[in-house]
């Protein structure tokens, strides 16, 4: 039974299962490069510029808007020419507060996703390729975080240990990396049984070398998709924490702005609308780009008879 199975797997993997460092002529000629497929999708053409716009605004925006904490203006002004997003209950320019808030939200989202990807690739790759103790440990840790929801653990940890941006990032990364590691693990397990890994072993390469040059590069497509989704999830969880009052009070993120907007929902709709809209658009952009990336990387998945 095992021999036939392996034969099928090896046979199926041959068209794409070549060494990633040296793609064969046929592969390049047979289909368009993945990034072209990805960039050519209509959804990418809308949401990639949108995401870049948000990143750009939060990087260079602070040079163009006033101070987010200057209180001289009349309080609770609705949006107008002078204050495009109005003013808050203390008369602060809300546009400036939203721009500065975006810095924190995006910083947390991207940092957490990168941390999760790094930890996930290392731990998941080792666990999937070598199996054994690492594998059991990873499965148990992933189970642990399924039983104790990340939001709750983050709330408890932040409440007990105090909360600044660094602590929030670390806590979110700790609660979120297992889902990324599980994907790498599954891929590494699959790839470690493929023909080119066996050839690499037969050629005398060591485990770490094979893991680094064959297994991980080939496991990356689903990992990239998961990472882009992690950006969205991290921003959502951070905004939830900040909405509940956990976060750096001196540097409010979008979620923290929503926390203070709650009390003024009746008088000032703009306070609740704009930060939430920003979170929504960024997370939507990240999720749709992740979906597009997934379609471009796995063109065969989802084809139905």
């Amino acid at each position: 039974m095992t021999t036939t199975d392996e034969a099928i797997v090896i046979g199926a993997s041959q068209p794409t299962g070549t060494d990633p460092g040296a793609p064969t002529e046929g592969r390049v000629a047979s289909r368009r490069p993945t990034w072209k497929v990805f960039l050519g999708k209509p959804s990418t053409l809308i949401f990639l510029p949108l995401l870049l716009l948000f990143v750009l605004v939060s990087v260079i925006g602070p040079f163009f808007v006033g101070s987010p904490s200057a209180t001289g203006n009349p309080p609770l002004l609705p949006p107008s020419g002078q204050f495009p997003l109005g003013t808050d209950d203390l008369g602060r320019d809300y546009l400036a507060r939203v721009v500065y808030g975006g810095q924190i939200s995006l910083l947390v989202g991207f940092t957490v996703a990168l941390l999760c990807m790094t930890i996930g690739v290392v731990v998941g790759g080792l666990a999937g390729y070598y199996g054994g103790f690492m594998d059991t440990a990873l499965v148990k840790v992933a189970e642990f975080f399924q039983v104790l929801p990340g939001l709750i653990l983050a709330l408890v940890a932040a409440a007990l240990l105090g909360s600044n941006v660094l602590i929030i990032v670390v806590i979110l990364a700790i609660t979120m990396w297992p889902s990324c590691a599980r994907i790498v693990r599954a891929e590494a397990m699959r790839i470690s049984k493929l023909g080119y890994v066996e050839s690499a072993k037969a050629a005398g390469f060591g485990g770490i070398r094979i893991l680094w040059s064959d297994v991980i590069p080939n496991a990356m497509p689903p990992v990239l998709v998961a990472t882009s989704m992690t950006v969205g999830r991290a921003i959502l969880v951070e905004s939830g924490l900040a909405y509940l009052g956990i976060g750096d009070t001196n540097r409010p993120s979008w979620g923290a702005l929503l926390n203070s907007a709650q009390a003024y929902m009746q008088q000032a709709w703009w306070l609740a609308l704009f930060p939430g809209m920003c979170i929504f658009l960024v997370v939507l952009a990240v999720n749709i780009l992740g979906d597009g990336l997934n379609d471009a990387l796995n063109p065969t998945i989802g084809r139905v008879k």
């Binding site: 104790l148 408890v156 609740a272």
Partner: protein, 332 residues
């Protein structure tokens, strides 16, 4: 039979170990927390060394770390979650008093999101690449990306503050006992949306997978109507991943209730949790987490049991193992 017993035995043991792990992490977090427990108990006043020693002994703080850990573990397992700093009530009673309110939102949200998710996901998979699928999938991605609590705020602003159709806060008119139905509408919508979006996505993918199997071709070539193929042949298969997803989703709904209850001022476990964090009432904070964890673990066990019952492969595997006729693989 022996296979079934050993399978569920292993499940129980690993669940128990998970629970101990959760308590251990909570205990470590509590130990790492900055600040002196005695000072936070007494307040910000100078106290004499003798009084300090008295409190230390009374609360068992003079015992070594590992001994306190086992005492804590023992207390949790006997249902003693300590007393609230604020009100001095037993934590377990405090939590169980609120649990009903949380379930009143969580259970309807769970049922609605699961059934609607299955229906919408199947429709999207069936009408793949046409406008109905694009609409359903697009809306699902959208709802999946909305911060849940912000959706609740927007619903309040539209339906309560502007249109005046539904109440904004609480679970019943002021001074009235119980839960009034119109107070449940917005919180349930808020809670159900992101789960609904997630389940629709999963169901769509699972249904597409199921529709591409060979037995669907067989059914079609036999002349089975396409409605019957969808509901009778593809559906049972596509539902299998949904069993697991639904099990996990109850955990997400309960965790998310923290946010939703804060938006709507709904006096459930989530609001108790947030208030306790604000007051630094650590016993209540940990108590809620423990009750939540136990609930999720029990739900996970039930999910596994249900999965074992509905998955014909697993079922036959168990039967096959117990009758020791394991190898009936097709010869190569």
């Amino acid at each position: 039979m022996r296979a079934i017993v050993s399978r569920y035995g292993r499940l129980l043991v690993s669940s128990l170990l998970l629970f101990v792990a959760v308590i251990t992490v909570l205990f470590v977090l509590l130990e790492l927390a900055p600040g002196n427990p005695i000072q936070s108990l007494v307040g910000d006043v100078p106290i004499s060394p003798a009084f300090e020693a008295q409190i230390t002994a009374a609360y068992g703080l003079d015992k070594p770390l590992w001994e306190r850990y086992f005492i804590y573990l023992g207390n949790v397992f006997t249902g003693n979650l300590g007393f609230s700093f604020g009100t001095n009530e037993p934590v377990l009673e405090l939590i169980l008093g609120r649990a009903g309110n949380t379930l009143a939102l969580a259970v309807p949200s769970f049922v609605i999101s699961t059934t609607l998710g299955i229906v919408l996901g199947s429709i999207a998979a069936r009408t793949r690449r046409r406008w109905l699928d694009s609409t359903i999938s697009g809306v699902a991605v959208g709802l999946f990306s909305v911060p849940n609590f912000w959706l609740g705020m927007m619903l309040i602003m539209v339906f309560s503050l502007t249109l005046g159709w539904l109440p904004t806060q609480g679970k019943a008119p002021y001074g009235q006992e119980g839960i009034a139905l119109q107070y449940m509408v917005l919180p349930i919508i808020t809670m159900a949306t992101s789960e609904l979006a997630y389940k629709t996505r999963i169901m769509r993918a699972s249904m597409i997978e199921s529709l591409s199997q060979d037995f669907i071709d067989t059914a079609r070539s036999k002349g089975v109507s396409s409605q019957r193929v969808l509901w009778r042949h593809a559906m049972p298969n596509a539902l299998l991943p949904m069993v697991t997803i639904s099990g996990y989703s109850l955990g997400f709904i309960l965790a998310g209730s923290v946010l939703v209850e804060r938006v709507f001022g709904w006096p459930g476990m989530g609001l108790l949790f947030i208030d306790a964090i604000g007051r630094q009432d650590n016993q209540v904070v940990l108590g809620v987490v423990i009750v939540l964890t136990v609930t999720i673990i029990i739900v996970n066990i039930l999910t596994d049991v249900v999965y074992g019952i509905v998955d014909p492969r697993l079922r036959s595997q168990l039967v096959r193992r117990s009758t020791t006729t394991r190898k009936i693989e097709v010869p190569a």
